[in-house]
Symmetry: C2
Subunit: 466 residues, 2 copies
């Protein structure tokens, strides 16, 4: 699917000239650079942006947006390029603003467990800088995404079951609006009742309301004790029932991830491992030594009731890294198992009591379809991902993959869940958003967009296709 | 101060007639009823609303709002009347919509730890209904506020240090917009990246963007073990340093409240207690028996370093209730200590590392001023309240009270904090909001308000005085 719309607003020669004058070597119109900024990790393709500005400061961002606004031309913020739903695609033409050079840490306030960063810093860069202070930023979506991109998509990932998502972990923002004006939202205080929660409005707005130039995040002390384990189960259902019981008992588990048997097989191949090719939970416990021990014992008892076996514990950082690398490589293991394929990724999230029903029905459907897939999940949150591996040149296969995705989304919504737990709407899930929330709520989103970006220059064609 | 504005929009006889026809005995124009709905617990006064509609269903709310919109007349939602910043005052005239009869529980989903309620239910009513299922809704602002009002002000209170505020605990909303149209935001899934976070936008919008008709909340299992304690300190500074260290060490304390010595004296008088009239921390620990024991030991060690003494533990529910009643009565104990007074309540919240500096400077200022005050605080969040007790007929005293409040707010903002941790802006803190966030962010709030409520009928004159 090539998703270009009829409202092309290609950057004019006048705008390109103005950008050249303002940014000199920081702007590029080279095809290779533009193409690199015109794709993400998802399955949708579009022509590249007309130019890329490499911003090095908040003023660079503000000036680039102001120029684009004067010329009625789209601007799309670019961090690490790891989004999955077509967020970065220049579907109406325009300018990509690459913020990856803006990767400074402005301030670590260790005593308050907060940090203020520029948007281009990646989560690994941030954690590298924090670890010597005994602190960490827990949100881990797998990819080494930029903090700006994670904030824009309301990302979460493996640690969210305990530490929350970007929604819960952003305290304050500096944002360039469509006019080029800069505003500040939030403070470093832990809570606030000061007017509309603009911080939360911008978190997850996918670049359509503003571009972040500073982000203040919550941090956490590195846990005194960490223990990780894997455990195999005779069936997906038994693995999932273990998770449901764990969550319902209030065990503060830090991570609990599911891989189905065939996906473990793909990981074994990709990462040269010999894990049992059965449904598997990967778990991690954080806390004081006593608390970690207590949590681990509780979960082992629960797992035993569901015939969990072959518990393998990882107590050292090296052992843990090996286990988690397997989980983090699941996506690439899946993709590489079918060379040349593209992935249609699902991202449904349901109330925990419906997780088994939703997952099992969707597995049955995927198996019946004959489409190759992998299956991983942040199951402690009720969130899981099918990756349907399709041949991009086979329209029939794409349609069958999309039909599986739609059936899953419809099931999740019917169960009180959401079409996207963490990847965002982008281009790919716009119809799902309407299905989930109704026309009324989408109309409210549109009217907010129109009020804040009347020329519709900020990442147009996303979320609700304005 | 009488805060009426020049843009009076009194309900017309035509509107009152239309309301009578639609609502019959559910609408009242009796002065006593209007006066009861025209005041809150704060220090500002205004003439009462022109009529009160007692809504019994979502349709009642929608119809009342639609009629008011047709007649360009303000509507103000009313829950329990416990707000503190003039939120309920009919400063431009109009209709009060009392939702207290809408106090049903729509659904308890114990397996998912969620509940959906009507807005008029109070937190005590809710917890009474939940306790037989081993669940509770932890947010406790002291007053027996309605869940709708708590959602509208982004309330928090004593348990927020562990369980978060309404910001973190609302999953989904049904909202009547200014047009009378109803929308749904959010789902029962634990997380979502589906478009703009409208739920968070409405939480804390103080009735200016819509009126809630259903609210879906997170619940928590009643903790397996609970232990409470009080501890006295030679100085406020030592008490606060104990709190700072506790938070910085990541102890998951459920409650940690401060009363200064004179306030303990007021509570003793009011509640017939004999607590040591010294700065005091009230603490509560939730978790497994082992975890509670570990937390309590850690905090006792920390307190000992700061000369904390006279630890008194409460292990039974009755003993705990006695301790916490003392804390909850602090506000009334303060107010009643000076008959006929009104209270100017502060609500600053600062990053935890600045708590001691902010608090001590403000205590010194208050003592120097000669204004009577009480001092309580949700210090684990960096949030505390002075109550300056002023004679409402003494303009000089009011101005001196307001000067203390302004000095405190300025100090908190300078320290990276907020003017309001949990009470909201209402009428009283509108200038502070601009001081805290700047004109740019307030302009964004205004433009959202204008987009969603073009006739400005929803609780006008609040937050930014539109």
């Amino acid at each position: 699917m090539n998703s270009t719309t009829s409202t092309q607003r290609t950057a004019s020669p006048l705008l390109l000239q103005a950008l050249q004058e303002r940014f000199g070597a920081q702007v590029s119109t080279a095809l290779a650079v533009r193409e690199q900024h015109g794709r993400d990790e998802g399955s949708i393709q579009a022509p590249p942006p007309d130019a890329v500005v490499f911003a090095e400061s908040a003023k660079d961002v503000a000036d680039a947006v102001r120029l684009a606004n004067e010329h009625n031309t789209p601007v799309i913020a670019y961090g690490a390029g790891s989004s999955l739903e077509g967020h970065l695609l220049a579907v109406q033409g325009g300018i990509s603003i690459d913020v990856s050079r803006m990767n400074k840490i402005i301030a670590i306030d260790a005593d308050d467990l907060t940090v203020t960063v520029e948007p281009g810093i990646t989560r690994k860069q941030l954690n590298e800088a924090l670890k010597h202070q005994g602190l960490f930023f827990p949100i881990d979506p797998g990819a080494d995404a930029s903090v700006g991109g994670m904030t824009a998509t309301r990302a979460s990932g493996t640690n969210a079951v305990r530490y929350g998502t970007l929604r819960e972990n952003v305290l304050a923002l500096e944002v360039v609006l469509a006019s080029g004006e800069t505003i500040h939202t939030g403070t470093r205080a832990k809570k606030s009742a000061a007017g509309y929660d603009l911080t939360r409005l911008f978190v997850g707005s996918e670049g359509t309301l503003g571009i972040f130039t500073q982000i203040t995040l919550k941090l956490y002390p590195l846990p005194e004790a960490v223990s990780a384990a894997i455990c195999s189960f005779p069936s997906i259902e038994q693995a999932v029932r273990t998770v449901i019981t764990t969550i319902q008992l209030g065990v503060p588990i830090a991570r609990v991830e599911l891989l189905d048997g065939p996906t473990v097989g793909l990981v074994n191949q990709y990462s040269k491992l010999t894990l049992r090719e059965e449904p598997m939970l990967l778990m991690e416990f954080h806390g004081s030594p006593a608390s970690v021990k207590e949590q681990a014992e509780t979960v082992q008892e629960i797992a035993a009731e569901y015939e969990g076996q072959a518990f393998e514990w990882a107590h050292t950082p090296e052992e843990r890294t090996r286990l988690w690398t397997a989980r983090h490589n699941a996506y690439f293991a899946g993709v590489q198992s079918r060379p040349g394929c593209r992935v249609i990724t699902t991202d449904t999230c349901v109330p925990i009591s419906r997780l088994a029903d939703c997952l099992l029905a969707s597995v049955a459907e995927a198996q019946a379809s004959g489409i190759t897939y992998f299956l991983v999940g942040h199951v402690g949150d009720g969130n899981f991902h099918f990756g349907y591996l399709i041949n991009p040149d086979d329209e029939d296969e794409r349609q069958r993959g999309e039909a599986l995705s739609l059936a899953l989304v419809s099931r999740a919504i019917e169960m009180g869940g959401t079409c996207t737990g963490e990847h965002g709407i982008g281009i790919h899930k716009m119809d799902y958003l309407v299905q989930e929330t109704g026309d009324g709520a989408v109309a409210v989103m549109r009217s907010i967009k129109q009020a804040l970006d009347p020329k519709n220059i900020l990442n147009p064609g996303k979320i609700f296709a304005q």
